[in-house]
């Protein structure tokens, strides 16, 4: 009868959303598992290397970034690996920081996160500070080198 009257039945225009919650939960679990607080968020271009080993979690971080303005001094920040990084202005402060960490844990690992364009003398000063503080293991943070590099 409906056809005679010229009425057509409307097709259902619904999107099936019942599995959406499952997908959302899956993503949620992924992000919770991989969640890691980055203790130093200084943006920089890390050097590329072929050899890379995993840096230990909770290792102390010393970041050396070039300044935005060429006349400004370098930005050196230190973090215990558990708290957000704080800026330091002198090498003596790095020695004090590293000595305190080594006194707390003699096997404490240190990560040097430095921009590839930083003059080596600044990295040398940090390395010297770590040696003075009797640090045993150091990691130089890098990106993976690829063939096109």
């Amino acid at each position: 009868m409906g056809l005679i009257r010229g009425r057509e039945r409307k097709p259902a225009g619904q999107i099936f959303t019942a599995s959406m919650a499952d997908i959302v939960f899956l993503l949620l679990v992924f992000f919770i598992v991989t969640y890691k607080v980055e203790v130093d968020r200084t943006k920089m271009d890390l050097p590329d290397t072929w050899i890379r080993s995993k840096v230990p979690e909770k290792a102390a971080v010393i970041s050396i970034a070039p300044p935005d303005d060429i006349t400004a001094p370098l930005t050196v920040r230190v973090s215990t690996g558990e708290e957000m990084s704080l800026p330091v202005s002198t090498t003596e402060e790095v020695v004090t920081f590293a000595s305190t960490e080594v006194a707390r844990d003699p096997n404490k690992e240190f990560i040097i996160k430095a921009d590839e364009q930083v003059p080596y003398e600044h990295v040398d000063a940090v390395l010297d500070a770590l040696k003075q503080s009797k640090v045993k293991n150091i990691y130089l943070l890098s990106e993976q080198k690829t063939v096109k590099d």
Binding site: V37, S53, V55, V118, P119, Y120, S142, Q144
Partner: protein, 165 residues
């Protein structure tokens, strides 16, 4: 007359669960950082009284400003570093490599040389990890035993000890 008992609904309302999950996802997506968590590792000597190394007993790699390198005083391209070291270690596998860097060179220049030295264990072994080279005593040579990165202060101390200005 029979009185109908009204059934108590025992469902948990889950309609807003997806909204909460989305909110949490957005939070974790924004705050989580896929940061670099790998790098070159090296161990520092335990005591400061390290034995004095004579220049002829070691391989001196000097990274100059601009990234050029000098090995034992001779300018060499970076590709020539490992073959030179291999040749020397075949004679004496315990020979340490000393990596010095000019203060005006960049950190990236130093890392390139250091990374090249660290690739020795890949270059000197085949796909199964078998050694490709032997030293003069017939023992397999698979890696550089010691790579030392002295600081400027240490080099100056050594020079003053040797009476070099």
């Amino acid at each position: 007359m029979r009185i109908k008992k009204k059934e108590v609904q025992s469902e948990i309302f889950t309609g807003s669960m997806a909204d909460i999950s989305f909110l949490l996802i957005i939070f974790f997506m924004i705050t989580s950082a896929f940061s670099a968590d790998r790098g070159l590792d090296f161990a520092l000597p335990e005591d400061t009284d390290t034995p004095e190394i004579k220049q002829e007993d070691s391989i001196d790699v000097h990274v100059l400003r601009g990234g050029a390198i000098e090995i034992d005083g001779n300018g060499t391209p970076l590709e020539g570093l490992l073959p030179y070291v291999l040749d020397k270690l075949k004679q004496n596998p315990e020979k340490p490599v000393i990596l010095r860097t000019d203060p005006d060179a960049t950190y990236g220049d130093m890392i390139r040389a250091f990374d090249t030295l660290r690739t020795a264990r890949i270059e000197w072994t085949d796909a199964d990890g078998q050694p490709l080279h032997m030293d003069v005593h017939g023992k397999p040579l698979t890696d550089i035993q010691t790579i030392s990165i002295p600081t400027r202060r240490e080099i100056e101390n050594l020079w003053s000890m040797l009476g070099i200005q």
